[in-house]
Symmetry: C2
Subunit: 228 residues, 2 copies
Amino acid sequence: MTNQIKSKDSQAGRPSSPSTTQTKRTGRIRERNRELILAAAEEEFALHGFRGTTVQGIAERADLPKSNVLYYFSNKQRIYYALFDDIMDRWNAVLSEIKPEDDPALALANFIRAKVEMSRTHPLASRLFAMEIIQGAPLLKNHLCIGMREWVRGRSEVIQQWIDEGRMERVDPVQLILLIWSSTQHYADFQAQILIIEDKEAYVQKDFDHAADFLTTVILRGCGLELP
Amino acid sequence: MTNQIKSKDSQAGRPSSPSTTQTKRTGRIRERNRELILAAAEEEFALHGFRGTTVQGIAERADLPKSNVLYYFSNKQRIYYALFDDIMDRWNAVLSEIKPEDDPALALANFIRAKVEMSRTHPLASRLFAMEIIQGAPLLKNHLCIGMREWVRGRSEVIQQWIDEGRMERVDPVQLILLIWSSTQHYADFQAQILIIEDKEAYVQKDFDHAADFLTTVILRGCGLELP
DNA sequence: TAAAAACTAGACTATTTGGTCAGGTAAATG
DNA sequence: CATTTACCTGACCAAATAGTCTAGTTTTTA
């Protein structure tokens, strides 16, 4: 229940790790099973939250005996943490830098597209993250969000600079980031609701394109911007 | 696990209800305890989801013995349903009508304000709702969302009419509703994250005003609208 | 190929879970 | 004031839970 998160029960967890990271032949089984378990866990946690998820449920979805799951991850929390490690890695990879000399319209448009794309490719991760935050981020408060504060500050400074240079309308940069955040994330998180509203069975690629187009248009125009 | 939802274990649940709704003196205790339990349950469910919440936990938060909780609500699902009954009632009360002859800018601004206000006054309800949807709305799919489909269709028809009359930019009305929805809801649902980003302990009234102002400005301008 | 390391998995345990029940007390009512 | 009705609650139960342990099987390595 503390703030340690890089515990990585992963690469070299239980077994007496032989010297360094030797992923030659050893650990192939390990790798495969870890993937299986994490994939199953992602679904279970996104479906039932941390407390509502059972190790048994994860095991069944991964088609492994429970004891085997607990052989790879010594307890439920470790699985949860490992998931967020992966998610944050992916996250950091996607959140590209923006620089003061960039074109504001292009930069924001790219950001919106990247986030919508993320909703498309990793909806479970998005929901998992959302659930954790809604529940007050009891497990990740320190670790996860402090990094995010820095991240938001960095971007909003750039945006503020654009504003000061008269390259876009005067809007609160932090609010703008939150707006992009929430509106893009929504397609993953509230999928169930959107599908029902639009009377569909599942999303198709076109839906995401349409959403990204809409958001880009409205938000850019809302900031007094236009795509070149 | 079916689609019944108006089960209302409430007003006259277990005890052989005497004739009609006689809330003279009888049922005062009942009323009070129901409120206690529902308030506690709202917090527990919003914190842990349906499966993660325990009746014991609700009981403790309500400061009642578990058996007493189960005296008023015969099981966990009933409590959950009762909560959503209340939420949907409130919801329906807030979602005011919009008419083709209204001013688009004013109507949308009012809508945004009403939704931000809802995030302020009923954050737990918002989170509860969000969790249910994220998890795929297993319990409410039919009931809750079909009504919502009608609601969205009604509004989007009006918006479309505004567009056809050239009173605002051509934007997808359904997407617009989703945008307003997500961006306003976000303040309640992701409170934990926002507070950390903004380095605050709690929201104050000004924060909501500021958010509402921002969203109104950007979204209206994004639709080519201006407040009169 | 033999010893060591990594993996598999059933049996087991202590605790927690949702929910019942029976025997009570307090409150309304005739 | 008596009796019916509403309310309260501890004791109880079967099922599920997180996690351990041990005994075995496969894989790697020397």
